[in-house]
């Protein structure tokens, strides 16, 4: 039986097995390559997407649970937003492989806390590994996107 979801606002029907990983459905069936696989076991957050507004690791989610779900991937985020501009300006991306997941984690965080404290940012990103930045530039970008100071 096919699974019907809304992905980035568009209805999508997948005929993959209900046990298929959401990550593979997004990458292979929907050709949304912005969602990355870093570890395949829910540790790194490179495959993070929003499911009904909640941040989840798509490598751990079986397709069968996605019936009628609202899914947002990095391709579904606005290209020009305060967050995107701040990520560029602050140097929050280096190699970029964690960046899509970070953008979604930041989106989820800002939806919950419009003006997050540094501590809230730290915890909000703690499920997303970045090996390049030491995280400081990412904190700065999120604070800046939330209307905070230019330098954190």
């Amino acid at each position: 039986m096919p699974t019907t979801m809304r992905i980035n606002g568009k209805v999508f029907q997948s005929h993959s097995a209900p046990t298929a990983r959401l990550l593979d459905v997004l990458r292979n069936d929907c050709h949304l390559k912005g969602t990355k696989e870093g570890c395949g076991e829910g540790e790194c957050g490179a495959c993070a997407v929003l499911v009904n507004g909640k941040l989840v690791n798509s490598c751990l989610v079986p397709l069968g649970q996605m019936e009628r779900a609202e899914i947002t991937t990095v391709e579904g985020l606005p290209e020009d937003s305060a967050l995107a501009r701040a990520f560029v300006r602050c140097g929050a991306t280096q190699c970029g492989i964690c960046t899509p997941g970070m953008m979604l984690a930041a989106t989820a965080l800002l939806a919950e806390h419009a003006h997050p404290t540094l501590e809230e940012i730290r915890w909000g990103l703690s499920g997303n590994l970045c090996r390049c930045t030491g995280y400081g530039r990412i904190y700065a970008a999120i604070a800046q996107a939330a209307g905070g100071p230019a330098d954190v």
Partner: protein, 763 residues
């Protein structure tokens, strides 16, 4: 020489234009190797040895399985040489009979369905005969009767200055220690992978995640026995490397190309899973250092004696050059008349160790800096004062015999770091805190060090790098070089250097995709050399280009982008050569003797003082870094935001090295904790504040006096953290990572401070 203000005081916006790769990465549109289209393609997988070296007796393909749909490659399918081209042809591409470690590739499989491929991997069985007594320990390898190679030594170096015996006579206080650092995984978040296809004319195209396209090209030439002109290597967006994608991509590229050669025109994608990547690709060399330091009562160093050994693993790969950098950096940024450093890279049955940010220096600097604190303690001196007394100044003689010139800022970094951290005040506060019986103990520790940028000694001369600039008719300029963007910001920095030298806006300059069919060989993207060495070549090429445009196309002395475009149009119309190339020439006085480690080892050293403040929970023995301050003199920050990002990220990796990252080995010498659930790198919740201070002396060998910075931040965090913990708990720490389990052991072992193992010490 005065230091200009740190870039924090300069206009950062003007100096730090937006990253050229920023938009594609933030929107998720950048294509990494696993994202590349591969229509009608196959997926590749690798069958590997299970034993720690031995003889392969038989390969059995399960007869119950239909293998007709599979592409199968074994050693007999290799058209060229069965060895990965690097320093020496000792590492094999595919095992034919003998092998040296668990995890060596034997059979390559490709199939259109990833799931079927996964099942098929389990249906190939290898009959292996294990060599007796595999070796996994450095000192065991040095003493073992069983030799994998003569003496089990890949390299044996001696740096010898002055007279050690004289130093021993003059020394009034001597300390001795044995210090160890573990393997460390680079843990780029994008696993390694390659995509290979045979094109209609029979040429082969390999695309993938890599640092050094010409290393991969040379490896393909040798393994496939094909002409260079029929092979093309293209770098896809690379999701982190840190040294980990310096040599191993050559192996994966050979495997993918061998499969593609038998796949009847279908492309083959060979992407490692995280577990496979952790188990088989190279990591930082584990090290063991026996160190003795002697000083007079006033704290002036009289001798440094180090026996520095690193585990090279089962093949030579890059170990001799890692060792050489480790040896040169071992005596630190100190003035000492009598120095002996013996360095050895030993053969064991681990998978080969390789490049990782710092390349041997973090290991030997760790030993030196922890030993300096032991010496300070024995002298009853403050560790900062001991360093101040011994740090190099201009006109002192460096350990390699080089007279230190004006470009020496060791003292400046120490002064700034002490001031910024309120070091002496903190020290007193933490002593009072620790005496008051709180449930935690606090400490403040430091490390002073220098890191040489570029290839060691004559390395840059041998590389003979070339960079070209191509003028397009409409006034845009393309940079052609083989240096790769892997997250460190090279693409932006190189474009910025070219744009500035040409007096053009950034968007008039492009960096060509790293494609060996188009770009000249400007050397590998390693050794903190890209900004300094390649950036300097770009600047020289830009000067040459401007000269040509003035002479051949009437570019006015003062011009804007429009004048420039018009001159480019005239150059093209006149069919003038629109390509200029700059070649590497060593800086004056760049003389180096590889046999005696004598001369000028690096074109520039960056100088640094790092200070860690830690808190250890007395009950759980967990260590938290409260604050970290990284002060470095780097010549010139070309792009301050990128430079800060490099330092912050490097410090984070260094803190992981110090506190969390433990590679555990199984009985076959393979990484046992081969998952991100049990190989722990710092998360955002683990790291405290990292303060970066950039000092600019403007005397480096790069553009505007810049020096390399990529590797520098890896050197300091581990010794600074360990020194802070030693102070907090008043114990000796002899290894990293400082896990609570280890601290429990050390605290229980107190007071007998430490054991010094007896090992071969002849020189």
């Amino acid at each position: 020489m005065s230091l200009t203000g740190a870039p924090a005081q300069r206009d950062q916006r003007a100096d730090s234009p937006a990253r050229v790769d920023g938009f594609a990465k933030i929107t998720g549109s950048a294509l990494y190797v696993d994202d590349l289209p591969c229509a009608g393609g196959l997926f590749g997988a690798t069958v590997r040895t299970a034993m720690a070296g031995g003889i392969l007796q038989e390969v059995i393909f399960d007869p119950a399985m239909d293998w007709s749909d599979f592409v199968i490659v074994t050693a007999k399918d290799i058209p060229g040489v069965n060895a990965v081209k690097l320093l020496e042809n000792d590492q094999i591409v595919l095992v034919e009979r003998t092998f040296r470690h668990a995890g060596e590739a034997v059979v390559l499989l490709a199939h259109a369905d990833r799931e079927v491929l996964g099942m098929a991997l389990k249906r190939v069985s290898l009959v292996e005969q294990l060599n007796p007594d595999p070796i996994f320990d450095i000192d065991e390898a040095l003493q073992a009767e069983r030799e994998m190679i003569p003496g089990n030594l890949y390299a044996d170096y001696l740096l010898n200055r002055g007279d050690l015996a004289e130093g021993e006579r003059r020394a009034e206080v001597v300390i001795e220690a044995c210090l160890r650092t573990p393997a460390q995984e680079q843990l780029y978040i994008e696993p390694q992978g390659m995509l290979a296809r045979v094109q209609a004319n029979g040429d082969i195209l390999v695309e993938g995640s890599l640092q050094c396209p010409y290393y991969v090209l040379d490896a393909l030439v040798q393994c496939l026995g094909m002409d260079k002109n029929r092979l093309r290597v293209v770098q896809s967006t690379t999701g982190g490397a840190f040294g980990g994608k310096e040599d191993y991509p050559s192996m994966i590229a050979c495997h993918a190309a061998l499969l593609a050669l038998k796949a009847g025109g279908r492309p083959v994608k060979l992407i490692y899973t995280r577990g496979e990547d952790l188990r088989v690709t190279p990591k930082r060399h584990p090290s063991r250092t026996l160190i003795r330091l002697g000083a007079n009562k006033a704290g002036t160093l009289q001798f440094i004696d180090m026996d520095f050994a690193i585990d090279g693993g089962a093949y030579r790969t890059l170990s001799p050059v890692v060792l050489s950098r480790g040896v040169i950096h071992a005596p630190g940024p100190y003035k000492c008349p009598n120095i002996r450093v013996r360095g050895r890279a030993v053969a064991t049955n681990h998978p080969p160790f390789g490049a990782f940010r710092g390349f041997g220096a973090p290991q030997s600097i760790f030993a030196m800096e922890v030993a300096m604190d032991r010496l300070a303690k024995k002298l009853g001196m403050d560790p900062a004062e001991l360093r101040r007394k011994n740090l190099l100044r201009s006109s002192d003689v460096h350990a390699t015999g080089e007279v230190v010139g004006a470009d020496c800022f060791a003292h400046a970094t120490l002064d700034v770091a002490l001031e910024r951290t309120h070091y002496h005040q903190r020290l007193a506060e933490y002593k009072a805190w620790n005496a008051a019986g709180h449930p935690t103990r606090k400490g403040i520790g430091l490390a002073t060090f220098a890191h040489g940028a570029g290839f060691t000694g004559n390395g840059e001369l041998h590389l003979a790098s070339r960079v070209s600039l191509q003028v397009l008719a409409h006034g845009h300029v393309e940079i052609l070089c083989s240096n790769t963007e892997m997250g460190q910001g090279a693409a932006t920095t190189l474009v910025q250097i070219a744009a500035e030298a040409l007096g053009l806006p950034m968007d008039s300059v492009y960096l060509a995709q790293t494609d060996t069919s188009r770009v000249p060989n400007s050397g590998p993207t390693v050794a903190s050399r890209t900004c300094m060495v390649v950036g300097d070549l770009i600047q020289k090429a830009a000067e040459r280009l401007l000269r040509r445009l003035r002479e051949a196309a009437d570019l006015p002395a003062s011009y804007d982008a429009q004048d420039f475009a018009a001159a480019c149009g005239r150059l093209h119309a006149a069919k003038g050569d629109a390509l200029v190339t700059a070649h590497y020439h060593p800086p004056a006085g760049m003389l180096w003797d590889e046999q005696t480690f004598w001369g000028r080892a690096y074109a520039s050293y960056a100088w640094a003082t790092y200070i860690a403040e830690v808190e250890v929970d007395v009950l759980t023995l967990e260590t938290r870094v409260l604050d970290f301050t990284a002060v470095q003199e780097i010549g010139k920050a070309v792009h301050p935001v990128i430079v800060r990002g490099q330092i912050e990220g490097g410090v984070a990796q260094g803190l992981g090295f110090a506190l969390y990252e433990a590679v555990l080995w199984n009985a076959r010498g393979v990484m046992a904790n081969d998952r991100l659930t049990n190989y722990i790198i710092p998360t955002s919740a683990d790291l405290g504040d990292i303060h970066v201070v950039l000092l600019e002396g403007g005397l480096g060998a790069g553009p505007k006096g810049a020096k390399g910075v990529g590797e520098l931040p890896m050197d300091g965090p581990a010794p600074a953290v360990v020194n802070a913990i030693q102070q907090a708990l008043d114990i000796d720490i002899c290894q990293i990572p400082v896990l609570p389990e280890y601290l429990l052991e050390r605290c229980a072992a107190k007071p007998p401070a430490q054991e010094i193992p007896t090992v071969r010490r002849e020189y």
